[in-house]
């Protein structure tokens, strides 16, 4: 059982204290195909839940990544600039996008746990 939460837009979020690590789900990377570019926000950007946080470009399309929660970006995964393929290889680990200092822990309540997300994904196919 994992302690990750998931959004309907296929972002994952993992909480450690008040800092949340965010990326796109394994399902999302499968759907996108080979990722060729990731545009991340600047550190110190303030994000609101549901606002555009990043852009992922694959061989098929460019897609927005939305902030699943509100907060301030405190760290971004600079490795992705050199190696965007990390998103395909390990979307929910090494392919993380950014870390956010959360404004409101209660926002996590809106998100799905791994089991609910798996059921949601199954309903899409």
């Amino acid at each position: 059982m994992t302690d990750k939460k998931y959004s309907r837009e296929h972002e994952w979020i993992k909480l450690e204290g008040e800092v949340a690590t965010i990326g796109i789900s394994n399902y999302a990377q499968e759907q996108m195909g080979d990722v060729v570019f990731v545009e991340l926000p600047a550190v110190e950007t303030t994000l609101e839940a549901g606002s555009e946080a990043a852009v992922v470009e694959s061989v098929k399309a460019a897609s927005e990544v939305y902030a699943p929660v509100s907060g301030e970006v405190i760290e971004i995964n600079g490795e992705l600039e050199e190696n965007p393929g990390a998103v395909n290889e390990d979307a929910e680990g090494e392919g993380w996008f950014m870390k956010i200092q959360l404004d409101d822990l209660n926002e996590l309540e809106q998100l799905m746990d791994a089991e609910a997300y798996a059921a949601y994904v199954a309903s899409l196919d």
Binding site: D34, V36, F37, E57, V59, K60, A61, A62, P84, G85
Partner: protein, 506 residues
């Protein structure tokens, strides 16, 4: 399949061809110039100190290089080109003949207007036809392509809104839109608000109405849309958009389905670009420049860019400055490009229009729609269609038929190349999974369509009978095999560079 190799590297009549910079030798050239002794060079410090590295080729070498490259190209002159959304129709040779008449081909945009009255009349006549076919009063002829036309349309709308004191903030764009729509709106300083499609592949009207508000500047809608479907609610949408004080921009890329059948101006649209290189048969891309005139209401026309051609008692004139003349007295935009647009493209489009006449143009749309529906009817059980018809000028398949085969839409498209067809448009529009968008145009005969259909049926059968390996390896009959598109995007090599030269021994 075993790889066939040859001693020469050529494959029969398919010549292996290196880059031009990798050929030739210094000192070789097509023309022998006499040695010139420069006594008083006035170039000074700007004089080159070393070779600039141009390849040295004789004339036959240069000719062979470009002919060989041209033979590697797929073209509408070579075969059916089912690239959805692009309207790859035949470019009639009559268009080319007329465009080469000295009165069109051998003139210069800076000639005195009295010496180019025929060319100006040609632009004005084409403008009249385009306004007539679409039901608008005003037109901007200068935009150089479809996306440029969109930009013209949105800039014009923004100028009109600014003149009323509020440019507004949001532009509504359906999730099935061409990527140029949101890009255009963003370039004009607007925030994009995506409107979802419904289960029938049309825009979700309820969601659209909910998003309308006093901060919405415009909606950008393609009709028929990128799924090849007619937006049936378009009149109601136009009324709601106008009631909210916003403008209705239509992406006219798919006008080929409607010519002579529907006048977009009658539907409540405020502005729309026309891709002359799609609907009106002028060459695409590398075959020639595009042109994207924008038709619009008289109200918007006051803000459209210059120049434009007007007719007076003294003949035709190009209005180049905002001097209160004509219908562009309050022009806000200035110019979007030099001179008056792609005159060479205009001649071809007008030739196409006049050689077909209004009844012929209507027949063209009917045939384009008939051809697409014929493909849909004969392939819907072999491939899979996400939305029920009737289809307009193109038919959208998804990858449901490939479920469980380990073959992707990309693999399927690559296999089409081995069969001698340009692939269909893939992974667009984004609203369906594994999209394969096919647009035959009116140019194809039933025989040509049948051959294409039988080929796709056979490929679909191959995919379903476990021949995934064949698809993964495709194409195998091309000058180069499957390209690594991922690596090309991740590590692009954007220009050729010479190998490092060895240090010269001094």
């Amino acid at each position: 399949m075993t790889e066939i190799t040859t001693h020469s590297g050529h494959r029969g009549l398919d010549m292996a061809e290196p880059l031009i910079f990798e050929q030739g030798a210094s000192g070789r050239s097509g023309v022998d110039w006499p040695e010139v002794e420069l006594r008083n060079s006035r170039i000074g410090a700007a004089a080159r100190k070393r070779s600039i590295g141009l390849p040295g080729l004789s004339e036959p070498e240069a000719v062979r290089h470009y002919v060989r490259l041209s033979q590697k190209n797929y073209a509408i002159d070579l075969g059916l080109y089912p690239l959805g959304s692009c309207t790859m129709k035949h470019n009639p040779r009559l268009n080319e003949k007329v465009a080469r008449l000295p009165g069109f081909a051998d003139i210069h945009p800076l000639q005195p207007m009295s010496t180019v009255q025929g060319a100006l009349e040609m632009i004005d006549t084409l403008a009249s036809w385009l306004k007539g076919l679409t039901g608008f009063d005003s037109i901007a002829m200068s935009p150089a392509a479809g996306a440029h036309g969109e930009l013209c349309g949105l800039m014009t709308i923004r100028a009109a809104l600014e003149a009323m004191g509020n440019a507004r903030e949001r532009v509504l764009v359906p999730d099935s839109a061409h990527g140029t729509n949101p890009a255009t709106a963003a370039l004009c300083g607007y925030r994009i608000d995506a409107v979802p499609s419904n289960e029938r592949g049309r825009i979700d009207k309820a969601a659209l109405l909910e998003k309308l508000g006093p901060d919405v500047a415009a909606i950008m809608l393609t009709n028929p849309n990128t799924c090849g479907l007619f937006e049936e609610d378009i009149v109601e949408i136009a009324e709601a958009v106008h009631a909210a004080g916003a403008y209705f921009y239509c992406d006219g890329a798919n006008f080929n389905a409607l010519v002579g059948k529907v006048r977009p101006g009658d539907l409540g649209i405020d502005a729309m670009h026309l891709n002359l290189h799609k609907t009106f048969s002028t060459p695409h891309g590398g075959g020639g420049p595009g042109a994207g005139p924008v038709v619009m209401t008289a109200e918007l026309g006051r803000f459209a860019p210059l120049p434009h051609v007007i007719k007076s008692d003294d003949g035709y004139t190009i209005v180049e400055h905002n001097a209160g003349e004509g219908d562009r007295a309050t022009n806000h935009l200035g110019r979007m490009r030099s001179f008056h647009g792609q005159a060479g493209v205009f001649v071809r489009a007008l030739t196409y229009i006049l050689s077909h006449g209004s009844d012929g143009l209507r027949k063209i749309s009917e045939d384009a729609v008939l051809n697409a529906n014929y493909i849909a009817a004969r392939l819907k059980d072999d491939l899979s269609v996400p939305y029920p018809g009737p289809y307009m000028h193109e038919v959208l398949f998804d990858d449901t038929f490939l479920n469980g085969t380990d073959v992707t839409t990309l693999d399927f498209a690559k296999a089409m190349i081995d069969e001698g067809y340009h692939p269909a448009t893939i992974y667009f529009p984004l609203v369906v999974h594994g999209a394969l968008l096919t647009e035959p145009t009116e140019s194809e005969s039933k025989q040509s369509l049948d051959q294409f259909i039988e080929t796709l049926k056979a490929l679909a059968a191959d995919a379903k009978s476990g021949k995934a390996e064949m698809f993964k390896n495709a194409p195998v009959l091309t000058p180069v095999r499957r390209l690594d598109e991922t690596r090309a995007a991740r590590q692009p090599v954007l220009r050729w560079r010479p190998a490092a030269l060895p240090e010269a021994a001094e």
